[in-house]
Symmetry: C2
């Protein structure tokens, strides 16, 4: 029998859980949503999700058309199928979510963290199609990563590998939510760039349209819009952010010599404004033997549904 034609993808976020039924050409042919927030009982949550899924599963011809399900979730562990101590989800401890969905739906379910899911999605449907060695960097509220070596996800001894957002790039640098100082995430996440904006605005008296925005409301989008107008301070914020990210990627190249770095999410939407300083710092800092080898790319999956597609791609990994 041929492979069944569809997979289910679940992008599990702190606020919403987005479901999609996806075909092999990355078309989301049906979708639904359940609120994550407020679902304090995880059994009730899964029951509600399955109830929401039933009608869209029927719409595509029933569960016998579904090959498998993939879940991308914060602190998701591929090895165990559990969500482990996720600070921004309503459930505490170790949640065997893959097993819970699998038992109710009667299909195989794979789960991993959101950045790994994005990497698998990029490999299945996006710019990393056909690549055996690349590094996905997700620039969101935090900075995540998914690393592929020899065509396989790097999961490590515990399923938790690929925390490049918590590589320390600045000794005694900014305080990070993880309890340590100077993590990449403190500079290149959405909150990191806002922090840079505040620091630079406090240090300089250069004119900038960013002064028209209350300091605590400046975000990546505001900086992007100002930079597109040629605002020198906004451009300086991107230079600073991109340089730190480019220098970090130059160090990551020494690890796995990837064919590409793929940037996904929030800040990557600034396009050349962030990519140009990343590329410049990367070229200036990478070891000679790796120079010119890795492409620095923007995700092709970015935009609505990208995270659902990423999660769904895990489903195709089921043999």
């Amino acid at each position: 029998m041929d492979k069944k034609p569809y997979v289910i993808g679940l992008d599990l976020g702190g606020t919403n859980s987005e479901f999609g039924i996806v075909d092999q050409n990355a078309n989301i042919i049906a979708s639904t949503r359940v609120k994550t927030a407020g679902h304090g009982d995880v059994n009730q949550y899964v029951d509600d999700c399955v109830a929401a899924l039933r009608p869209i599963i029927e719409k595509v011809g029933g569960i016998e058309k579904i090959h498998a399900m993939g879940i991308g979730a914060p602190n998701g562990n591929y090895y165990t199928g559990c969500i482990e101590f996720a600070p921004n989800l309503p459930w505490k401890g170790n949640i065997p979510l893959a097993q819970m969905f699998s038992e109710r739906l009667g299909i195989p379910v794979r789960l991993t963290n959101d950045a790994n899911a994005a990497a698998v999605g990029e490999m299945q449907y996006g710019v990393a199609k056909g690549m055996k060695n690349f590094i996905m960097i997700t620039l969101g509220t935090g900075v995540g990563s998914g690393i592929v070596c020899n065509g396989e996800m790097v999961l490590g001894c515990d399923g938790m590998a690929g925390e490049l957002g918590h590589v320390i790039v600045e000794k005694d640098g900014r305080q990070c939510g993880c309890g340590r100082k100077g993590c990449l995430e403190c500079y290149c996440s959405a909150t990191g760039i806002a922090r840079t904006a505040r620091e630079i605005l406090e240090k300089t008296d250069k004119p900038t349209s960013l002064r028209n925005i209350p300091l605590d409301q400046i975000d990546g989008l505001a900086i992007t819009l100002a930079a597109r107008e040629g605002d020198a301070v906004a451009l300086e914020i991107f230079e600073y952010t991109g340089r730190i990210l480019g220098e970090a990627c130059a160090n990551f190249a020494a690890f796995s010599s990837p064919e590409a770095f793929v940037f996904f999410g929030g800040l990557s939407k600034a396009g050349d404004l962030i990519m140009n300083p990343i590329k410049k710092a990367y070229d200036e800092n990478v070891l000679r033997v790796f120079k010119g080898k890795a492409k620095l790319l923007l995700s092709e999956l970015d935009g609505a549904g990208a995270a659902v597609l990423g999660a769904s791609a895990l489903g195709w990994e089921v043999k």
Copy 2:
């Protein structure tokens, strides 16, 4: 037919080329040596090596007893079987050494860089037996590394992955031979620790037996001997070196979440003197999710023949 009982290992160094015929239990049952230095013509070099190998091959029952050959060499590329632009070898450019040996001996030949060979050796015969995820750090004249993820060597898109000695650990730090500044190698190699010794001796007037040695002759062994006598300055040199290495390994854990770091070569012979500060800095700096997971181990292959064993283990990878 069963697998043939022996492999040949070649540890190709700038001065000597050490050959061993090795059985499946890591016994070197015959060995020979050819000078690398002075062999300006690589064809003549390979001919001379094969001539030196013939009698020991006969001794074990002839070439039909040899499964394959493995070579560990500086700048060795596993994908191509070539030595690529090795600064410390007499041959320039791209040398297809695996092919040259294979044609003359009539057996398969695998080649990789020396640190990767050490990692394969550790996985085949040493402390990493059975491990699927670990990082080998070789502390020699330089700092090398071999990274294993999902049970496979990480080679990258070009066969040159695993250059952790050239991760920049100190922005605008010490000048490195690679042309950049602040590489791990500038602090934790044999030359790195000697440099630290000179810096600390120039800055302090604490009494130390190291002042009895001319400044340009202080090396890892002298510092080790002094530290074993409780010399405070020598201990400070190890603290400094171990801290930098431990902090770097904490960052590497965020990449591949290894089950172990295995330290090999020169400086690792100092044992606890270097391992204790490494462990302390690692524990203080590693991300909470990885705490207590990776073992920090000394190579079991260290000592005479270790590099030959490492290279020979590549031969067993031939199916």
